[in-house]
């Protein structure tokens, strides 16, 4: 296993001055930040701060009113969600989101969509390369299940999984799309402390295998334990950013979380 350490010289994702409002509600007023290659960055903030909305904008599920998103010198602004995935930027969803009516391994196979190459006509003709590819994808799916620790559930229905396992399955589906940048939206919510602890190891492992991670999470033990950098969002604006230690001692952050007025923050 090769280890990729955070390399602050290469900007992977550049979010610049994004703003969006829904009707009269300003969800994000002006948001800019960078994600460097190989790091784990956490985006935290109280409920309604605009974290999920930021994810939706970065991954093409929402169009910002203004601002730009650049990924490795390529503009993602205005691209459709499936195109963003093609570039290697893949997200998970805050609300549990899997392919319910399918088995666990089928879920991963669906996530492997971009890994497959076979065309419609090749499939219809039943060319040998189609079944070769299918076998390859199946093997890859098993590897991914192994990575997140769900191998023993491969042939069970997704709907039969326990809550903590479902959350792992979601991450596994996203991993199947081979992200260079993985955006996790509260992946540990609903996990018990021991599940969270082992999930933290999994996330570190994913990063060590070369995937940069942008994390939204309310579990502070996880955020502080795993992040290289933390960005704090409040009411659609960044109020602080720095190492976990710096953030923990930042009075603005403490105020935002304890719910004091914004003026003195």
């Amino acid at each position: 296993m090769k280890t990729v350490k955070s390399d602050m010289s290469e900007v992977l994702l550049n979010v610049e001055n994004i703003a969006i409002s829904f009707g009269g509600l300003v969800a994000i007023s002006d948001l800019s930040f960078n994600v460097y290659k190989g790091e784990i960055v956490s985006l935290i903030g109280p409920n309604g701060a605009g974290k999920t909305t930021a994810f939706n904008i970065i991954t093409g599920f929402l169009k910002p009113n203004s601002g730009s998103i650049t990924y490795r010198d390529k503009s993602l602004t205005g691209l459709a969600a499936h195109q963003v995935a093609k570039y290697g930027v893949v997200r998970t969803f805050q609300k549990t989101s899997v392919f319910d009516g399918n088995t666990v391994i089928e879920n991963i196979m669906m996530g492997l969509h971009l890994n497959g190459r076979c065309k419609v006509w090749e499939v219809l003709l039943g060319l040998p390369r189609v079944s070769i590819e299918n076998t390859r994808l199946e093997e890859r799916a098993l590897e991914i299940l192994d990575l997140v620790g769900l191998s023993n559930r491969a042939s069970d229905m997704a709907s039969d999984l326990a809550y903590g396992e479902l959350r792992l399955l979601e991450v596994a589906i996203a991993l199947a799309a081979e992200p260079a940048l993985l955006l996790l939206d509260e992946p540990a919510s609903g996990m018990n402390p021991s599940e969270t602890a082992s999930f933290m190891k999994t996330v570190s492992k994913i990063r060590d295998e070369g995937t940069t991670i942008l994390l939204v999470e309310h579990d502070m033990r996880m955020v502080m334990g795993i992040s290289d950098r933390v960005v704090v969002l409040n009411q659609g604006e960044i109020i602080a950013s720095g190492t976990p230690k710096e953030i923990q001692n930042n009075p603005k952050v403490i105020h935002a979380y304890l719910g004091y007025g914004d003026e003195d923050a």
């Binding site: 499936h82 399918n102 189609v130 589906i173």
Partner: protein, 341 residues
Amino acid sequence: MSRWISILWLAFLFSIPLWMIDLYVLHILINTGIFVIAAMSLNLLLGYTGQLSLGHVAFFGIGAYVSALVSLGFDLELTDTYTFVFDAKPVWIAFLSGIIAAGLFGWLIGRVAFKVRGAYFVIVTISFAEVVRLVSLNWIDLTEGPMALNNIQPFTLGIPNLWEMTLYQKIPNYYLVLVVAIVCYILIRRLVHSRIGRAMIGLRENEPLATSVGVNVTHYLVIATVISAAMAGAAGGLYTHYFRIIDPDIFLFIYTVTMVIMVVSGGKGTLAGPIVGGIIFGLLPEILREFAAPEMQWIIYGIAMILIVFFLPDGIVPALKNWWKNHRSKRTDSAEMDAGT
């Protein structure tokens, strides 16, 4: 296990003409087979991508009309001085033309309709079928309108000018329908077990998630519509050259409804569902006709439908699969208990 079941089924289906001497029964089977193909094609769209096309009969009818017209030849007075003459073509070419034409319309409808989804898709497809029906009714120069296209050639088999056989009889027509049905079945099975089919199922199950892993939703919906429409067109072509007469009534809404009932009762999104549903609701009216008054037939038909949908909401095939799974796990449970004591 399931392989043996398929082989037995095929052997049974291929053997029917050998022992079934009642030609009327064969006629019913041919008719049912044509509808089974149409239902299978609808299932690709309704069952696997989850899009309800309530104008599916349009593709069936387009296949039927195009195939008929190409095989008959036609001429169109385009201006006072110029008449476009289209010479009659061999039936096989006509049949393929019908498939291609239906597929092209599928592409068109797919492009237009998937910009608007859900209820709008249903409305676009219904309207499309109605427009096609009105065209076939009113473009009398081309379609003869309500007078119908008559004397359509049946299929021929063999090498032109050397040895040819014209399929007037029931038995060869039965085999023809059976072979086309098997080909459609195999194509659909290949598709749904591939990454293409997984993309379709994925967007049915959870569209945002499918999108987030890179599935281009419109692209796969259009592919599904094109293949589905082409297969419905093939069913229409079989219909044309077997019955040898078609009129605009082929586009009636009730036929789409029949296909939907076949798919839903058999089990949408399963390979065997439309076959089981198609056989039941293809044969039922014929069986009922033997011993029930016309009003009774429709009442029984309706009751059968309601019972199936009410008691087996997922359809017959998924219900049977579940039953079989429970039955088996119960057996292994008791076997383990026996071993334990």
